[in-house]
Point group: C2
């Protein structure tokens, strides 16, 4: 689906209405503000192909687990993202006919996602069957200033007739989930009220008992009229519409302003929901659409200042990278430690729960570098608050003594996935949680976090690993049996190199952190040990023994780490020899065939080398890269970025650029033919990593930033904004060299190609002229 959208630096532009692509477009044009979001459904009725989606962050339903053959240890119930009340709806009747693009001839259709200012605009001319035509222009946004609110300005003009228009903005809570086991509905009405131009419906989720009050305020402006006439409310269960009938003249533009709020019991006491909704709607309606939009643009400008990447000489790439950054910030803003980053954000229901290891492995690097440390800290606290559930989860699988296994997929700390090979075995996710703590402390220097929260999580994780390995009498080493690595095209393997490596690193880092805390804050350590019933001698003795005696599979002849025991027994036919018709494997091959092939879904050994790059000599990295890359099919959107970063590290700039291209326009060009279901939000962070850690070569070492940039040949320049320890920096790489700008009032030391530069506050420094290029 290449070239569906026009290329523009700051905008995604769709021209012409194609109903067969509507769900795809609904995903791409999704809006959100971290608290809530929705797919780009139409305001007016639409009977065609659509996936209705309105989402309120943190509100979920625990549905009965669907499974063919039950396995002991599966969760009975799994949380799923809920479609919430639709507040954007505006039903339009022209005389007796409903405006519905499914039954109209649509011309001049144009949809624009303005990423610079953060709004969606749609305009079209619709001709009814009887020839009557209207033109419509609708603009809407979710405010990132008033983050419980959204606003719509909907303009409609009769082009060739005059007649009654019946305009009914509404709230409809009678929605269903695409992902429901038996088509059942999940919301019940608690209360409903309306007055003048406002309406409020409070709905409660069945079983989980979340309550959300959705409110709207409506203002219809007709030129030359004193005010709206003939309005009435239409109410039924879970629904309120405010119907206004007015006489529309030919050529006269009627403007509907609709303000919406969602107030959730996740943040507001239930008894105050309606009151807060009223106050909130009053506040935004008083500001009015235009002022809200101005504030929105200013707030987005600030976000871009901290996180933008500018690419000169390649507008396609420029548009793509901004789309990725924009969608990430629409999904998660880091204000609330109850929230996390769903793989689909607010753009679809797929994958059920919100939180995967994607957050720690891909999103954390992005938010660390583009937002205040508080944002990542909240992501870490999310896991901290779920530690108790992670301990329960591990206990269910037979672990004890406070061992913690964080779930594969979760909304509230409970496991939401039920494939044994993933749920019980893809346990490297636990290591990702630990690594994110390390990564956060490395980037921010916030060691207080370690003392207050981090170590407690690390000890739970270390306890898990120490019980999950077992001693092999035959090898005289520890082994880890029955795991699934990041490469999910292998299941239930023994001694996955990545998992073994990560597990030992977790033990080492936990031991190191314990040592640090004992020395630096002995009283904190004593209190923690007591809280966790942590007995250093027997526990750390075993940990150290595991660190010393762990088995890592290797292929000595080739000099590479082996993905798992037995990998070399596979038929070693490279990806390039695969017929085109067999790709993607996951759609063409049966599962057993995939499993016994040598093909790798996503970086696995290479994911480990990426994480612990400094432990390995360049020739070791190169040998592993050269061995695994030709066997990797990259059928996970999380894969190419890791290969891009390693290729860049190895000086293979052209290949790095090739991997980057695979992810940057994944959704805009619908590469995987699944954007209908929603966007691949978390993999968008991987695209950012490809640019900043790949092309920019950014690393943090000993508390300093290091860069080794190169410039893709097609580009004139690229520059990115990052935040590092209170400094706002811009690193620009062009054919003329690398220019560092310190746009803050804090001095900072930056290393470029191994040379250190001390950047004074506000300074700009050209630090190199001999930039590498991709060849």
């Amino acid at each position: 689906m290449k070239d569906r959208f026009k290329i523009d630096e700051w905008q995604i532009i769709e021209e012409g209405f194609d109903p067969t692509l509507n769900k795809f477009a609904e995903s791409v044009f999704s809006l959100g503000n971290g608290r809530m979001g929705h797919r780009a459904n139409f305001e007016e009725t639409y009977s065609g192909n659509t996936l209705q989606g309105n989402y309120v962050a943190g509100v979920y339903y625990t549905d009965k687990t669907r499974v063919g053959w039950w396995k002991n240890g599966y969760p009975e119930y799994a949380a799923k993202v809920l479609n919430a009340a639709n507040w954007i709806g505006i039903d339009i009747k022209i005389g007796a006919a409903t405006l519905d693009l499914h039954y109209c001839k649509v011309t001049a259709f144009r949809r624009v996602l303005n990423m610079q200012e953060g709004y969606l605009e749609r305009s079209f001319i619709a001709a009814l069957k009887d020839g009557r035509q209207v033109s419509v222009n609708a603009r809407r946004f979710y405010s990132i200033v008033d983050d419980v609110a959204g606003a719509i300005r909907y303009r409609i003009t009769p082009l060739n007739f005059e007649d009654n228009l019946v305009i009914t903005p509404f709230i409809d809570g009678d929605v269903s989930n695409q992902d429901a086991n038996y088509g059942e509905k999940f919301w019940e009405e608690v209360s409903r009220e309306s007055d003048n131009d406002r309406a409020f419906i409070t709905l409660r989720t069945r079983k989980t008992n979340f309550e959300v009050c959705t409110g709207m305020q409506v203002n219809i402006v007709q030129p030359g009229e004193a005010g709206n006439t003939a309005s009435r409310f239409i109410e039924k269960e879970k629904f309120i519409g405010r119907e206004t009938t007015l006489w529309a003249k030919k050529g006269e533009e009627i403007t509907i302003y609709k303000y919406g709020v969602n107030i959730s019991s996740a943040n507001t006491p239930k008894e105050e929901l309606t009151a807060v909704a009223k106050a909130s709607i009053n506040k935004v309606a008083a500001k009015g659409f235009e002022q809200m939009l101005e504030e929105q643009a200013r707030a987005w400008a600030q976000k871009w200042k901290e996180s933008d990447i500018v690419i000169e000489g390649d507008v396609t790439a420029q548009q793509a990278i901004r789309f990725n950054i924009f969608q990430l910030y629409q999904t998660y803003t880091g204000e609330d430690p109850q929230l996390n980053i769903g793989p689909k954000g607010f753009t679809g229901e797929k994958y059920g729960g919100a939180t995967h290891w994607d957050t720690e492995a891909y999103c954390v690097p992005f938010y660390l570098a583009t937002a205040s440390p508080k944002v990542t800290r909240n992501l870490l606290l999310y896991r901290y608050h779920q530690l108790g559930k992670a301990i329960e989860n591990a206990a269910k699988l037979g672990f004890d003594n406070g061992a913690a296994l964080f779930p594969m997929v979760t909304m509230n700390g409970e496991e939401c996935h039920n494939e044994w090979e993933i749920t019980f075995e893809e346990i490297h996710r636990n290591g990702a949680v630990a690594f994110a703590i390390y990564n956060y402390v490395r980037y921010t220097g916030d060691q207080d976090y370690l003392a207050a929260y981090g170590l407690e999580v690390l000890i739970g994780i270390a306890r898990f690993w120490s019980q999950r390995v077992n001693w092999s009498e035959q090898r005289n080493q520890y082994v880890m049996l029955g795991v699934t690595g990041p490469n999910e095209y292998e299941n239930n393997v023994n001694n996955n190199w990545y998992t073994n490596t990560l597990a030992v690193w977790c033990l080492e880092y936990t031991l190191e952190t314990i040592g640090w805390l004992k020395q630096q804050r002995p009283e904190v350590y004593v209190a923690l040990a007591e809280k966790l019933r942590f007995h250093e001698v027997p526990e750390t003795t075993k940990w150290k023994h595991i660190v010393e005696q762990m088995y890592y599979p290797e292929e000595a002849t080739l000099g590479v780490f082996l993905q798992q025991d037995g990998y070399m027994d596979k038929e070693q036919v490279l990806v390039k020899a695969l017929p085109e018709k067999d790709r993607p494997l996951n759609q063409q091959w049966s599962w057993d065939r995939i499993l016994r092939s040598c093909y790798i879904k996503q970086a696995d050994v290479l994911q480990g080398i990426y994480l612990f790059e400094e432990k390995y000599a360049e020739d070791v990295i190169r040998r592993n890269f050269d061995f695994y890359e030709p066997r990797t099919v990259h059928e996970s959107s999380l894969s190419p970025c890791i290969h891009a970063i390693l290729a860049a590290k190895l000086g293979e700039e052209q290949r790095a650029y090739g991997f980057y291209l695979r992810t940057s326009r994944l959704d805009l060009d619908d590469y995987n033919n699944d954007t209908d279901d929603g966007l691949h939000i978390t993999s968008m962070a991987g695209t950012w990593m490809s640019v900043v850690e790949g092309f920019g070569g950014m690393r943090v070492r000993n508390g300093d930033l290091h860069f080794t940039p190169f410039l893709p040949v097609k580009w004139e320049s690229f520059s990115f904004n990052i935040l590092f320890r209170e400094a706002v920096l811009n690193i620009k790489t062009s054919k003329n060299g690398v220019v560092l700008s310190n746009r803050s009032d804090k001095e900072v030391c930056i290393h470029v190609y191994g040379n250190a530069y001390h950047l004074k506050a506000g300074s700009v420094q050209k630090v190199a002229t001999d930039v590498s290029f991709a060849h």
Copy 2:
């Protein structure tokens, strides 16, 4: 649930009504005749705990596969056993009150399964809430003479009152399946008619369009009355009842005779169903209940003559082994090659499809030795007729050139299972199909079968194995990756010794059979090769290479075959060290914990040694037995019999007896606490194997029978009847020695403890006096 039933040589006896155990008893007292069967539901209404089950062989529904996470290659639809019309129902009203044991005080309750004559009898006294009492005696059976029919004699006597009795025998087709995805019903009415004392309903299964006409004829006899008065039919959709109201006097016994037939479109053209049903019901009703029952007893006597095992000195064991044999013959009689042996027979819906590898691995040895060769031949033809589907199934998984993979579970040749680790990987089932051909030919000498059908199947299977292995460059050998062996407590392992061994044996046997056919019937071979597009040179060249170069995992230090690669990396803690609270593992442990443990669900390496015993020296067998037995938890009912046979072979008689005890009363004593769902029909054949191949040591070598019997210490004697190449034999082992009886008119050669005896027709010969005993 030990001691629920009274011990008796020929009967299962339940005394006293325990509603909490009703589903358990419904399973145990199930009736069938190979064509149809039902659970021991009550004739009269019962509102308590019950699983209603009436089944017609070969009639199934293809339901949408239920799965949490779809895998490529899963079947979209899977056949399931269907609950069919209830024809046994007799509603009884005493005045205005329904006779329903759930609301009565029940005394003198007694239920008897008479295995010698093949009927079920139930008697009780029920007191209504108002104190009125009736005594009931109900006897019923499925005829094995008129195998479309069943008959009921239901006697009811008012004990302390006189009143109207309203008696309504009925057919109710408005039944549901326990195993339905959404509670939907699977039958639709085609037609319905009634006349005088007969009624017929024809129902069609949704989607699969099977039609079954169920008919009944009713005759109510009241002493001193000329005939029934005040009868009328009550009809509604899928239901006909024939209501008779009569005045019942105190102490006067009223007898209801009800005859039922099921005529299925699987055997009768749809347009003739009702006509055939009418003729059939007329025929049996004309015979009458008592004559039918006499014929039934005679027919069962003949079955027992061919298949009985007599144990003296242990009535508990005697009862158990007869229960096993009885249930096997109730389930499958071998008349129809469309039918097979479901794991639950006609006793429940569980496990969906009818056919598992249990048939070939466990039931074939039983039917070979206790029934005419035609019976096993029909089991083989069942697979032969499904060869096309097996080829399609393999093609779906990426195999080509006529490679065949028989399904894990099936009703019609299509796969009915959807766990990737089983469906796609438990492929040793293919070997069981091939071995059954070998076993049949070995036992019967029927080489014609090989030429006409067997080799075609063998070539499909050989083609599968030759594509399923791959060459390991590293080992310079063939390997087989990603399989699940008989021990399902391991999934997706590499080089399962059993599967590798069986695969190579299949190739060898196919090569040998090709050689034989080419030499003996060259024109048949040429025609077959053409039909199968079989090109001997490239195909058999590869097969021979695999035979020569296959890799088999072994543990050299211990001198044992290794269950699979990496098995020795597991923690080797033996079963005896497992805490009682952890058993059974499949109820106590999460799946990953089971998988990475060394515990074995059922014989795996030992299953292979059992099949190919003659290839291995006794010390090899002993080392493997001594290694694997202590690691085996026997959590499959198919496991202990294999261990029993090998223990017997190794002279460990007492252990062999111990394994036998684990299976023989599995259902009668509800060891696994799951008999509610139905009986473990196929594992009953394993019990038989324990006695005949274990205690009796029966083997076939070079066309002769061999025995090495020993006598369990608790027993006075045991003897079994078998059929071998037209001879009817009885082998009796007692403390006084072994006595062989040839009860046929055919001379036969039998080897006992290595000595050959030529038994003339009708002769009896004592052949040994120094019998081994279990110690």
